[in-house]
Symmetry: C2
Subunit: 136 residues, 2 copies
């Protein structure tokens, strides 16, 4: 499956580094929600859902994490380990995150506020919906 | 001077922790820009500016940092060392950040895109403007 990364400019100098994310400039949507996962316990696998509509960008602003992606047709796995690189997740992609490093802070920018109705948490339902979407 | 902190809910469980920031819910403005400072060299002091209009919230999502604040009338210093707590910075506050821990990731949410004209980088000019603002 196609995986889209977004590489961010490096605004660092001799003092340190800075990355800036701006809606309509390097973020292809309106930023309505920002969340971050941290202090994840060892051997934990998180995610296990897809979104019906919501789009997001995931960035490991500290540490590293593996992201398993599944569009209902193909699966792939990517590693996020750079504050300069975001993973763009369109709607209807099943994701599972694993192998969080102990210092991992996984930041996510989303184009929607939290809405439980937007989540697909059952994998079989996800496969059925993804199949229907490909046919339509 | 008055310092406003915003405490965020803790959405953690046995897997790890999660903090969510949402415009109009726990963030009192539209999130148009997100930036993060990291890999700051030891003994560096950053900032040295105020914003004419821009509002922002600073969060140490990893590590810790000291923030010196100055409204042109009073100064104070706060430490940011928790991913659960944001420092709300209204417009016209001079800020300098120092004592970044080596693991510090300082995330900032702002209500405006980057605009160099919004920065006041000269401290004397800042004091003059702040004085005028108090009189008006």
């Amino acid at each position: 499956m196609k995986v889209t990364f977004v590489d961010f400019g490096r605004h660092g100098d001799e003092r340190g580094m800075l990355v800036a994310l701006e809606e309509g400039r390097n973020i292809p949507f309106t930023i309505r929600r920002v969340y971050y996962l941290f202090d994840t316990r060892p051997h934990v696998r998180r995610g296990y859902h897809a979104h019906r509509q919501l789009k997001q960008i995931m960035i490991a602003v500290s540490g590293s994490v593996k992201v398993h992606l599944d569009d209902g047709c193909e699966v792939t796995e990517v590693t996020l380990d750079s504050p300069y690189r975001g993973l763009l997740l369109e709607s209807m992609v099943w994701r599972e995150m694993s192998e969080f490093s102990s210092d991992c802070v996984l930041m996510v920018l989303a184009d929607q506020l939290y809405d439980p109705a937007d989540y697909v948490r059952d994998y079989q339902e996800f496969c059925t919906l993804a199949k229907q979407e490909r046919k339509s």
